[in-house]
Amino acid sequence: MTVLEQPGSSRNTSSLAGPPPSWRPRTDPAPLLPDQEPYRLLGTDAAARLDSGLLTRLYTQLVRGRRYNAQATALTRQGRLAVYPSSTGQEACEIAAALALEERDWLFPSYRDTLAAVARGLDPVQALTLLRGDWHSGYDPHEHRIAPLCTPLATQLPHAVGLAHAARLMGDEVVALAMVGDGGTSEGDFHEALNFAALWQAPVVFLVQNNGFAISVPLAKQTAAPSLAHKAVGYGMPGRLVDGNDAPAMYEVLTEAVQRARRGGGPTLVEAVTYRIEAHTNADDATRYRSAAEVETWRAHDPIALLERELAARELLTDAFVGDTKESAEQLAADLRERMNADPELDPMDLFTHVFAEQTSQLRAQAAQLRAELDAEAAGHTEDAVGAGGFAEEARP
């Protein structure tokens, strides 16, 4: 774009200087602006048009999700998981993200989004491989089209853009949905991803779960923007502001954004206003940076309770349905507990297996060294392993 003088920036002292070239915004920003208030369905008149099947489906998944969070948190206390960043309180965002996608689409989760991955079909134990520490990520991303859980903040967002762009270039109507937290919106990769997505009109949906805190730092210290959804306008894509605890509202907004992307309408930024009920992880002390009263306010706006009210009004919250849902959640937890309590079978030689397609001579030598160390360890005399591998042989004249 042409570089223009700013109005009033200088006094015109040259008779040769003409008027500045005309300028107008490239895009009318008004249609891109998000709503002033987060979009809600539950508790409003609009809830009446919601499909009961969708509501019961969302409910079952939310309850299972909460149970999964509770079980995984318990596993950290038993030492079975190195760490678990719970998404309790944010289940509506997680479930909606998974359900809004079709099978051919791709999900790009962050480290807090194991639940979205499980809801999309990933084995609950495989979803925890990274957090247990037996491998990094570990699952096959192609199986359910779920990118590896991403620990660095926002770095998976450009991947989502690139994948969606590549799919479109290859003629596939595939959409990528990428998840990030409020803290992640401050990272450079967030901005570069949004810019590329808008420039390429890539079929991507960015879901920001604004849960109030980046570990201990509140949103007010993270951004001066009116809302995170407002950030979309600067890149030339629409921003949507949604109540992240309203599962059907989340589902509707994400589904619309996915469909829009699939139709060639380009990317959307969705900000879900939600709250992290638990601490950042089991290693965090949330009482140092927020009050119990604040947490209680959000507990009263619980995503499961909100949905229960609507189901009860429709007389769908029967004992049988609630009992079946609870049983399904308990089965999930029991299966997770049982399988996580079995020690994973680890082969140390795998350390060398997936570095390059073809192992280098250096890695072959190091693998031989480890093999010798393992053999010596098995034979009970570790000292023999010293110098067994590597270059010892070659060093002799």
Binding site: W135, S137, H142, V161, D189, N195, D350, Q362, E394
Partner: protein, 344 residues
């Protein structure tokens, strides 16, 4: 400098032209090869290395991107996840630094994280090194950063022929390659046949560029022509120098290096990048560990000084030149019965 191209259909070609041809041929052979970066399309790259690719293959295959290195590499990761083979240009060595997180946390590790399920057939082209009079941030030798990261292949051509062969090999590789292009050799010419390109050079194999018996100069990329010149000059001093061009720093060709040093008994490693923490230290250590009993002298290094890259008007003092190499070679007179040459 001469190359060993067959005599048929030879004509003068520059390294830049050979690189262009390598991308062109790779794109023609494989529709999944995509070139992307800032200015690579309409302009043909600031060094014109991507000249004509957008015109021939369209803007979807040779894409001018926004000015954002992390975004360029990050989106390329996603494209590779979907089955494309992106060839990414980082316009200058120091411009690649914003993309380091993508490179180190994702490009280098994706195969490992996914137990081989996701591969990263990415080529990251980085024009690097000094000697073109570039201002600050335009002349860094950044190879040590890449070498410190497991999972990256690091390749650097020094001849026109290798520029073609190694770039073809890099693009064909299923693992990521940081392809360091010595920018001061872009305009170096050789008799090379673009119409009958030589075979794709295997990655991880060094080349002996000059046979000799007194000592081995081990080098790569921009320092190869300097070493060849030094080897010629050393003849009058009675030194018959062998010159090994590593071509690929990772994988590292221990065999070729060790075979040469065992033959000559003396070794000097030559590179532009800082000596402290630079590749020369690793190479010297490898030689010492493997060839100690063959060595007649300590392995010496000729490297750039341990300073932030010199301003252009002073860079000739920073870059290893023929004289500094010859002075160092003279110091190899270690417990030797030779009487010529210098020494400490």
């Amino acid at each position: 400098m001469t190359t060993t191209v067959p005599a048929t259909a030879r004509k003068p070609a520059t390294m830049a032209q050979a690189l262009t041809r390598a991308m062109r041929d790779a794109m023609a052979d494989d529709p999944s090869v995509h070139v992307m970066g800032e200015d690579v399309g309409t302009l043909g790259g600031v060094f014109r290395v991507t000249d004509g690719l957008a015109k021939e293959f369209g803007e979807d295959r040779c894409t001018d991107t926004a000015l954002a290195e992390a975004g360029i590499l990050g989106t390329a990761v996603g494209m590779a996840m979907y089955g494309l083979r992106p060839v990414v240009e980082m316009q200058f060595d120091a411009f690649a630094y914003p993309a380091f997180e993508q490179l180190i946390s994702h490009v280098a590790k994706m195969r490992n994280r996914t137990r081989g399920a996701l591969t990263m057939p990415l080529t990251i082209r980085v024009p690097y090194g000094g000697g073109i009079g570039g201002v600050e941030h335009h002349s860094d030798s950044s190879e040590a950063y890449y070498l410190a990261t497991a999972g990256l292949q690091v390749v650097t051509p020094a001849t026109v022929e290798d520029a073609y062969g190694l770039l073809r090999a890099a693009i064909a590789s299923d693992d990521p390659v940081v392809f360091l292009e010595p920018k001061r050799l872009y305009w170096s010419k050789a008799d090379w046949s673009p119409d009958a390109p030589t075979e794709v050079a295997p990655l991880g194999r060094a080349a002996v560029r000059r046979r000799g018996s007194s000592a081995t100069l081990i080098t790569y990329g921009p320092s190869l022509p300097v070493c060849m010149e030094a080897a010629e000059a050393a003849r009058s001093e009675g030194w018959d120098l062998e010159v090994v061009d590593l071509r690929s720093l990772m994988p590292f060709d221990d065999d070729t290096v060790c075979a040469s040093v065992r033959r000559t008994g003396r070794a000097v490693v030559v590179h532009e990048s800082n000596g402290f923490g630079g590749p020369g230290g690793e190479i010297a250590a490898r030689i010492t560990e493997r060839c100690f009993h063959h060595l007649e002298a300590p392995v010496l290094r000729v490297a750039g000084f341990d300073i932030p890259y010199a301003p252009p008007m002073l860079e000739r003092h920073h870059l290893p030149g023929v004289d500094r190499i010859l002075d160092t070679v003279a110091r190899l007179q270690w417990e030797s019965d030779r009487t010529d040459g210098g020494g400490e």
